[in-house]
């Protein structure tokens, strides 16, 4: 509910901010380091990003593409623990005005304990969570606790889902829906075309909740396209790639071009 309210508010300011869509960015906790994460987030804040996913590194990131796989792996090798991620999130939510959702794999939550995990997420100022390997059928308990704690379980809708399944997914949707623009994992470019538009339209038939569009957003054109059809553009791999290429300078250039 808290997240829904925030998104509605941000939505309302888009025209004034000359933005075709809201922006959600992605950071892998502790990769390359928490210091780098902080600098990235400062730039994201500077460019008026609306939402940030903080990914908790996991040893088996099976829904991620190569760049994020490497990020997950190295973060773990650097010794990043779940507790470090929560502490970092608490600092971030205190310092920055964008809202934060946790992104990660279910085992991280399960192993910590579902209630304990969500309580810590709440305490750290997070507003929701995206767990790509947890289908709604297996998520009853987690969603129930989330409801109690006013956290939004971000549901994914995908082009392969049947209408019946989309309807089912819509029942669990809260905060926003993460619509996956194409098959595959994170990382490679998506061709934003009629097919994607059709898929988004199909999702809209089933839910009123705002729609984020993810997987391969990297150009200003993509944002414009998403603005026409949906609500939130998700910038993942593209931003990390920029950071890896030239830290602050490159990331600033990237956002400048993206949001021009």
């Amino acid at each position: 509910m808290a997240l829904n309210k925030y998104i509605t508010e941000q939505q309302a300011t888009l025209a004034e901010r000359k933005r075709p869509a809201m922006i959600m960015t992605h950071v892998v906790c502790g990769y390359p380091s928490f210091e780098d994460n902080w600098k990235e987030l400062e730039i994201m804040q500077e460019f008026g990003v609306d939402l940030v996913e903080l990914q908790f590194p996991f040893s088996e990131p099976s829904a991620d593409g190569p760049l994020f796989v490497k990020a997950n792996q190295e973060a773990i090798e650097n010794g990043v623990r779940v507790q470090d991620c929560f502490e970092f999130m608490a600092k971030v939510t205190k310092e920055f005005s964008f809202k934060v959702v946790m992104m990660g794999y279910f085992n991280t939550i399960f192993k910590t304990g579902q209630r304990a995990f969500l309580q810590q997420l709440k305490d750290a100022g997070g507003h929701g969570f995206i767990v790509p390997d947890l289908p709604i059928d297996e998520a009853q308990e987690l969603h129930a606790i989330a409801k109690e704690l006013d956290l939004s379980p971000i549901v994914l809708m995908t082009p392969t889902n049947t209408d019946a399944r989309l309807a089912e997914l819509a029942k669990s949707a809260d905060g926003f829906v993460y619509t996956v623009a194409r098959k595959g994992v994170t990382g490679s470019n998506t061709n934003m075309n009629e097919e994607v538009a059709g898929f988004i339209a199909r999702c809209k038939q089933f839910t009123e909740v705002p729609l984020a569009v993810g997987f391969g957003v990297s150009h200003a054109d993509d944002i414009a396209f998403i603005g026409q059809h949906a609500d939130i553009a998700v910038i993942g791999t593209a931003a990390l790639k920029a950071w890896e290429q030239g830290q602050e300078t490159a990331l600033r250039q990237f956002f400048t071009a993206l949001l021009k």
Binding site: P57, F58, S59, E60, P61, S62, A63, G65, P66, V69, K70, Q73, I76, R81, V82, Y105, F106, N107, T108, F110, K111, T112, P132, D133, L134, P135, D137, E138, V155, L156, M157, T158, P159, T160, N161, T162, R165, L169, V180, K183, G184, V185
Partner: protein, 417 residues
Amino acid sequence: MDLFNFTDGREGYYGEYGGTFLPEILHSTIEQLKTEFRKAKDDPSFWQEFIELMQSYSGRPTPVTHLANLSKKLGGAQIYIKREDLNHTGSHKINNVMGQGLLVKRMGKTRVIAETGAGQHGYATATMAARFGFDSKIYMGAVDVARQRPNVFWMENMGSEVVAVTDGQQTLKDAINECLRDWVTNMDTTHYVLGTACGPHPFPEMVSWFQSIIGREAREQVLAATGQLPNRVFACVGGGSNAIGLFQGFMDDQDTQLIGCEAGGFGPGKGNHAARLAYKDASVGVAQGMKTYFLQNDDGNMLHTHSVAAGLDYIGVNPILVHLWENNRVRFEAVTDEQVTEALKLAMRTEGVIPALESSHGFAQAILEAEQMSKDEVVLINMSGRGDKDIFTIADALGDEHWKTFIRQKAEEYGPE
């Protein structure tokens, strides 16, 4: 006992283990698979087709062999082995793979992918793909590619593309992740041929069903050969497919003990082994599509594992076996690398059989126990595969100097790159 009667619980769950933990994008793919599998399972002609294929292509039924010399030497129970090593491609993996091949044909898909650790499953899948005319890609950890080149060689020669996975530990679990990544991209044309009774439902059930051919045959064969049921049945447990395959034949024989033999590696202690249940280093988690015991740390990140047998070197375990273990139907034991190589040597010298290093785990535990049993008792070991394809690993495990010399000479003969 029908392990797969889910009317009283949740489909795909065995006690609290199992389930389907997959990205949403695979939902309809896995639903299609469940439906097709259910149809096939309910259709007796499908099983008949499977049996006939396994007979004519893979030489089933595989026999049960009495190891009279070994039994006599140990002075205890009569030891019998189920000869999955005599299958085409040299292990039980082919049972599952050919079964899934038939399903793929039914589903009208044209491409298969598979993970492989030791290479046996990849080898079997490449074989199946050649036979069925499917395109195929085999994912294999880069570390495994380096140590199991012979299997890679055959897979490639049968027309499969082999991809060396350089993520993570670069072993089996990483190959599984990479398969999932391929699958979420190409599910329209592609079936993921999972190699063991793990992963998301319906894989554990499906793989168990195809592998149940082992236990069905074995029960009859031991009865015919000895006039009695085995007192104890041993199988190594990697993912758990050969074990559940054999155990199913004896599930309702309450006097038959079932013993799963895990990879004790260097012995207990995190990172030293791949024993999920026999040692105390694993805990319940959710990964690679299922809920089961994993060798993981407190954050839920997976530990390094070790075994002399690549096919047992895995973080998770068949959820059905976990359930049976909790219900005291299956006992779990671990044997160390050293015990395993000793058992292998003994089997070769006394009986002229070469169990795979994986299968040698079953031999090692059975040898320990048979010695204590009486002469009129019977034990059955699953010889899940043959060791002769693992010559590099076995020569290394045995530290054979002649072999090293041969390899040095061969390298010299080939000259520099």
